[in-house]
């Protein structure tokens, strides 16, 4: 599987946020997207998920050795940093409904209870309205949509920052389990989290995407390299 981003441009008013960002995510795995505050990580995700269309550029997906094709319906799953779920439903009702509309694409044969158990939602909580769910529980339900729907590409915007330590570990394990079948791109400010979880790191720098040598990820120089890149951007903006 390959996700190819080519010359993505997006502006808001006179401010150009993405300035021709290009990058190829060459295989399934977890990719960390790093960038300073306001670098455009959420904008990039919004463009990839068709939340807003880019001004120019294209995004293509190549599946199972087939030639690249434009992204289509159901190719992208987007986990928002602030999870949103229809609060008038219980967790069980939402998962049941979602299984019915997607038809269980993975043919797992799992019931709503099985899925909810998979992400660690207790039986008592499954039949409670989601408006009473904690942030972490809502995020798990949101993640379930992508576990069930199995979109090839999953975008996660700051997915672990609001979890407690237990929920964060559960979620990390979940992502690791999913990584063999999906391209998971997650944005974060936390460098340690990126090095801990990601197979590769991509930096969004001055509106452009830049890969970081994956051999460096677990070396002492890695942190300095990332800081140099991001500092360079900050200084460039200050002077520019």
């Amino acid at each position: 599987m390959e996700l190819i981003i080519q010359d993505l441009v997006k502006s808001f008013g006179t401010k150009q946020v993405l300035k021709g960002a290009s990058y190829t995510f060459p295989r399934e795995g977890i990719y960390g997207l790093l960038g300073r505050n306001g670098a455009g990580k959420t904008t990039l995700f919004n463009c990839l998920s068709a939340e807003y269309p880019p001004d120019s550029g294209k995004v293509e997906l190549a599946l199972n050795g087939a030639p690249p094709r434009p992204l289509g319906q159901g190719d992208i799953g987007y986990v928002l940093s602030t999870p949103v779920v229809p609060e008038f439903l219980t967790g069980y009702e939402f998962v049941k409904f979602f299984l019915e509309i997607t038809g269980d694409p993975g043919n797992t044969g799992r019931t709503p209870d099985d899925w909810l158990a998979l992400v660690g939602i207790d039986p008592d909580d499954r039949h409670r309205l989601m408006r009473g769910y904690s942030h972490g529980m809502k995020n798990k339900v949101q993640m379930l949509c992508f576990l069930i729907g199995r979109p090839p590409v999953i975008l996660l915007d700051e997915p672990l920052t609001s979890f407690d330590v237990v929920a964060a570990l559960e979620m990390k394990n979940l992502l690791r389990e999913m990584k063999d079948e999906h391209i998971l791109i997650f944005s974060t400010h936390i460098l340690q989290l990126a090095t801990d979880l990601c197979d590769e790191i991509v930096v969004l720098n001055r509106g452009l995407l830049e890969g970081v040598d994956s051999a460096l990820i677990h070396t002492p120089e890695f942190e300095q390299r990332i800081v140099d890149i991001l500092k360079d951007e900050g200084e460039g903006e200050e002077h520019g």
């Binding site: 928002l80 008038f88 439903l89």
Partner: protein, 539 residues
Amino acid sequence: MGNAWTIFRINGAIRGNKLIYWVGRLPLIRRFSTDHLYSAGEGKFALFIIQNLWWVVRAIGGKVLYLAALLFIVASLALNAGAQGVLRPDNFGPFCWLFLWFSFLVGTMLQPHAVAPSQLKYICVRMMAMDAWRYQMIAGLGHHLAELAGFTPLLMIVTALLGAGAWAGLVIGLELALVRLAAEAVHLALYSRTGISIGNKVWYIILLVVLGMAGAFVSLLVWPQARPQDVLLHPAAVAALAVLGVLGAVYMVRFPSYYRLALDTCKAENISPELAKQKASGSQFNDVKLKDSDLTAEGDSHLTGWPYLQSLFFHRHRRMLYRPVKIVLAILAGVTVVGAAGLLIFRGAETESLFTIVPLSLPYCVFFLYFMDNNVGTRICKAMFYNCDLAMLKYPWYRQGDVVLKNFLLRFTRLCAVNLAVSGAVCVMFTILTLCAGGRPPLGEYLVFLAAILCLGVFFAVHCLGMYYLFQPYTSDLQVKNPFFSGINLAVYIACYACIQIRSTPSWFALLVLAVTVVYSAVILALVYRRAPQTFRVK
């Protein structure tokens, strides 16, 4: 002096930035980036001067309008019968009455400076940790001096024009400043005793305004010939007010809890216009917020997928959708039974002829059904957005074209059923009453009348839901941002209201209603089919 200059500069930056922000939003100018102006240091200070000059012009303009309004009220009450003209010495007494109630009472007690929340106070005291007492002394002094300097010359002109001499205006202006100080002290003392600042409570503002208006007009009506100026300008009154003012000022200077007061009154949602707007916008959804008791309802267990979701939604919103309809159906049933019984007892030529022309009541049916269906429809669309679509539209699969249309049809069917229940009940009511009254309307005309009533039910379902899907007027921070949505809704209201203004209903009116509802519904449905997959988004 350092603090005063800091406050002055911060105020300058706030006002300068506001000006740049608004200038940057003007249609032609917004094409060019005005962001760099925010860093324009001294240049921005020049903007602040301009903004301040504008503020002075606006403040003085407001006071001129206020005084002119008082003079106009005095003249229009014509308390001195036969006398003509606004600027006559006779009017000075009534003017003083109004000024006493409106300015001395309402104006000073409404929201004194010390307890009023302000962005400047928030920034200086809460964010920059400036000493709250020092801030209040400097800002309060500036405020009261500005008010004194702004009001007194105008009062002097008015009293001179009324023949009382400019000195009277000078005295009244000084007295007003003294009363303001006393009012500040009253509010501070109240806060000190109770811990509550009543200055921004809605009930207090309403009470004060009503009291002021009632006091002014009762005074004018009961004592039209009284001369309040004799008391107001009496040296004893001036001395008494001077004592009150000085006591107020001393209390203000000695007040120890300005910091606590700033924490209590200057909260982010009172200061940030965006947050305040958001809070106000959020409150428009209060009527569609779900209660715990709503959420116990189960959906239809035999349904799956999208019908299951919509079934759960409608069951859990039954309080908003079905309850008002049930009440109306019960009222219609009551009217039908009582009306039928009455008509059977008092049946005669008059009832017969009245019910022979029953189709002429269609204009009233249009307005009744608009009132009923539109209320329910608008409310349920708001609930759809707030409780369901606001979250669901974040998921790409919910925004897919075929899903949008599928859900539209499911919702349309439910809303139509509800509207048709009301329309059907109206049809049954008219039919039973007509039969009981012995009315003999032409059959063809009567059938068109019934068809029009039924079509109206469909029309309002299409209208409410179609407008929601085509214009989706709400933003993610719950504001209504679509002039077309409001405009078309207003046009439909005007059209329905115009119906009940028709003096003699033409015989072809039912056909017209039928044709309009069918054509409008068809157009909206076609538009929804073509456009909703693109327009049904959270802005």
